[in-house]
């Protein structure tokens, strides 16, 4: 670039900057000169900000407001006052699912306004009101959980039907019975956490590239080679591969890829694949919890609790690694008879295993490695510039797609849209029980039960989550628990370290090891194993999984006690 062009560029930049600066100044000045404001903030009884409260200044006895506005997401409002005020004023607060409040406008505040100064009112607390909508939302939420747990409907369909029912009831029911109104469409959409949606979507695209490179076959074959066919060594190596993969890919994808390969190794060694598969799925559920992106529940927790990738690494990973070591020891003990058996390797199958144990697309793997490394750095250091994980995932996936130029139709179809729709619908359903105050009610009850005892809170939340995650799907459970944990974090002394979010993370993810239906990865593993003629029954999984759950949850919890 020559000097002339550089000079022009600098002038343009300076002019633009000065224009933006002067525009900002003039806007502020304009605002300051013409309007006075009544500032305030609205909270519920759990100190959470309330968005969308209609705040109006009324002449006492009048039905028409002098001025009105709505509260923002942080519960604050700024009520513009552009006319002289008379005596006997009232402020009306109205929001669906809360009790209406009318308070006299303080004389002192009126005096301040008449002196041409804005005024800030004390924080106003609104109490919840239990309406018909409360019960309707609760019933829809419970039906959704039952449909998911029973498998009667696909997860996505159950959540989608729930979200549609809630909106349908809100709009079609309101004209008949006004108290049926739950929320508007825009309120429902506001409950969707787009950070979660885009993070999952971005990671899905990266995973789609990685899974087609043959890396899992290569790793599995080399696991066999390194172990030299010694089962006591092969088992932890495969557990480690599965676990580390689960820390960066989702558990379902990891087990979808690892299970058929593990069956192939087991057939080659002429042993039951269950000896390897069960510990692998345990490892997937345990190590997956060590990173922000390892499990969908962690993604939900991280986004809601503003917990970064590094926070998970520092606060959870050491405990998870300790739990993993204990899990290896437990697996050795649990399968000691099978591991001691003399193995007979099939030469034909070993040859086939070797043939398949090759990287099929080294170029894409190398590119995915570079991009994956860059994404990891952004996950770790991005928090310094407030870079959201979803933005990192989007940048990484876009860069990878541009670099490798795959068939875009193929890549788009690799995105699991059913999962994304599931999350969006789930956010709306959980948002409804939040909107009507059910979550708030549950949070208050748990708060009353636990009191201000942080140790008790940690124990209760961890084990309660672990046991419930054995029975119900842990994603809707976690999504519903987040506001509860948010409340407990504000009322329990010492909980502001966000330790209760980590307790939820451990309980929800590691609880999945307790039963076959506790985690999707378990079901996938069982499904594939059955296709190879090895059935994993509910009883068998429970027998092996329950001790694994107790050991890993206990160790992780002990770590959290040490850490916090």
């Amino acid at each position: 670039m020559n000097n002339y062009k550089r000079f022009i560029l600098i002038i343009v930049m300076l002019v633009t900057a000065s224009w933006i600066f002067s525009w900002d100044q003039s806007a502020t000045a304009q605002e300051g000169q013409d309007s006075l404001y009544i500032y305030g903030k609205m909270q519920d009884t759990q100190f959470q900000p309330i968005q969308g409260v209609e705040v109006g200044l009324f002449q006492a006895g009048s039905q028409t407001p002098i001025t009105s506005t709505f509260t923002q997401a942080d519960g604050s409002y700024a009520l513009p006052v552009d006319q002289p005020l008379e005596n006997a004023l009232e402020i009306h607060y109205h929001r669906t699912h809360f009790k209406d409040e009318v308070v006299p406008f303080p004389q002192q505040a009126r005096n301040t306004l008449s002196e041409d100064d804005s005024v800030t009112l004390p924080i106003m607390v609104l109490e919840r009101e239990i309406t018909l909508a409360f019960w309707v939302s609760a019933v829809v939420f419970i039906i959704m959980l039952i449909l998911i747990a029973s498998g009667y409907l696909h997860n996505t369909l159950a959540a989608f039907a729930g979200a549609s029912a809630l909106l349908g009831i809100s709009y079609l029911g309101k004209p008949l019975i006004p108290s049926l109104f739950i929320f508007s469409f825009s309120q429902a959409i506001n409950y969707i956490d787009w950070n979660v949606i885009f993070l999952i979507m971005g990671m899905m695209m990266v995973i789609a590239v990685v899974e087609n490179t043959g890396i899992f076959h290569w790793l599995a074959y080399h696991a066999y080679r390194i172990s030299g066919g010694k089962m006591w060594l092969l088992l932890p190596i495969l557990m480690l591969i599965t676990g580390v993969s689960s820390a960066f890919l989702d558990n379902v994808t990891t087990m979808l890829l690892m299970t058929p390969i593990t069956v192939q190794i087991a057939l080659t060694l002429n042993i039951s694949p269950l000896v390897l598969l069960i510990p692998e799925v345990f490892a997937s559920n345990v190590i997956g919890v060590s990173t922000l992106i390892g499990t969908p529940t962690n993604i939900l927790i991280g986004s809601f609790g503003n917990i970064t990738f590094n926070d998970f690494l520092i606060n959870l990973t050491p405990g998870v690694l300790a739990a993993f070591i204990a899990l290896i020891i437990y697996s050795w003990f649990s399968y000691r008879d099978e591991l001691d058996t003399e193995i007979s390797v099939s030469p034909t199958l070993l040859k086939k295993l070797e043939e398949r144990g090759k990287i099929t697309n080294p170029e894409n793997l190398s590119k995915a490695g570079w991009i994956g490394g860059g994404m990891l750095l952004l996950f770790i250091f991005g928090e310094r510039i407030h870079l959201l994980p979803s933005v990192t995932a989007l940048i990484g996936s876009a860069a990878l797609l541009i670099w490798i130029r795959p068939d875009i139709e193929e890549m788009i179809s690799a995105v699991d849209w059913t999962t994304l729709v599931f999350f969006m619908s789930l956010f709306i359903v959980v948002g409804s029980i939040q909107e009507v105050g059910l979550i708030s009610y549950i949070a208050t009850q748990i708060g009353n039960l636990i009191g201000e005892n942080l140790t008790l809170a940690m124990i209760v939340i961890t084990w309660f989550s672990a046991i419930l995650s054995m029975i119900i799907a842990n994603i809707p459970f976690t999504a519903a628990m987040l506001p509860v944990i948010g409340y407990l974090t504000t009322i329990i002394p010492g909980a502001d370290s966000k330790v209760l979010f980590y307790c939820l993370s451990i309980g929800a993810a590691l609880g999945g090891n307790g039963s076959l239906i506790g985690a999707s990865a378990n079901m996938i593993t069982a499904g594939i194993a059955e296709r190879a003629g090895y059935k994993i029954s509910y009883q068998y999984f429970l027998k092996k999984g329950l001790p694994a759950l107790v050991i890993t949850v206990a160790i992780s919890l002990i770590w959290l006690f040490i850490r916090f």
Binding site: V252, T253, I261, L349, I524, R531
Partner: protein, 144 residues
């Protein structure tokens, strides 16, 4: 080219069927056609986007199951081939029977304690009749 069609799923439950096929092959000098059907019905409750990829992985797993059975047959002195198909298990067995026109079809009977097994004895009997009607093969049941 008549032969013995032996549809297997793998695992210990398939062993009696594999062994019976080998015995029959040695007796009749027929070739065994071990058939494995890739069926992804269990994925209906998870991600559909993974279906293509996982189908390939399960096909490879099926190949191992078949190779293992073939190895057993060869070691026992019988001829064996491996066949993999995608789709509904019963439909694919019938379709392959129509193509192969085998002399015998070996079917494993369901385990008594497997309440979840869709292939009850009655259904299996009806299925055997269907095979016999479509390709005139003799269906032999083995304990599974």
């Amino acid at each position: 080219m008549p032969g013995i069609l032996c549809a297997i799923r793998g695992g210990p439950a398939s062993q009696p069927t594999i062994l019976a096929s080998i015995e029959l092959a040695k007796e009749t000098q027929e070739t065994i056609y071990f058939l494995y059907v890739v069926n992804l019905d269990f994925l209906t409750h998870t991600s559909s986007s993974k279906t293509n990829h996982i189908s390939k992985e399960i096909e490879e797993m099926g190949e191992f199951i078949l190779l293992s059975a073939q190895e057993q047959a060869v070691l026992a002195g019988a001829d064996a081939e491996c066949v993999i198909r995608d789709g509904k298990v019963m439909e694919e067995i019938v379709a392959y029977c129509q193509e192969l026109k085998p002399a015998y079809v070996m079917l494993g009977t369901p385990e008594e304690d497997r309440e979840d097994n869709l292939l009850t004895l009655e259904r299996l009997q009806a299925f055997a009749e269907r095979i016999e009607d479509t390709c005139q093969a003799q269906v032999i049941f083995t304990p599974g």
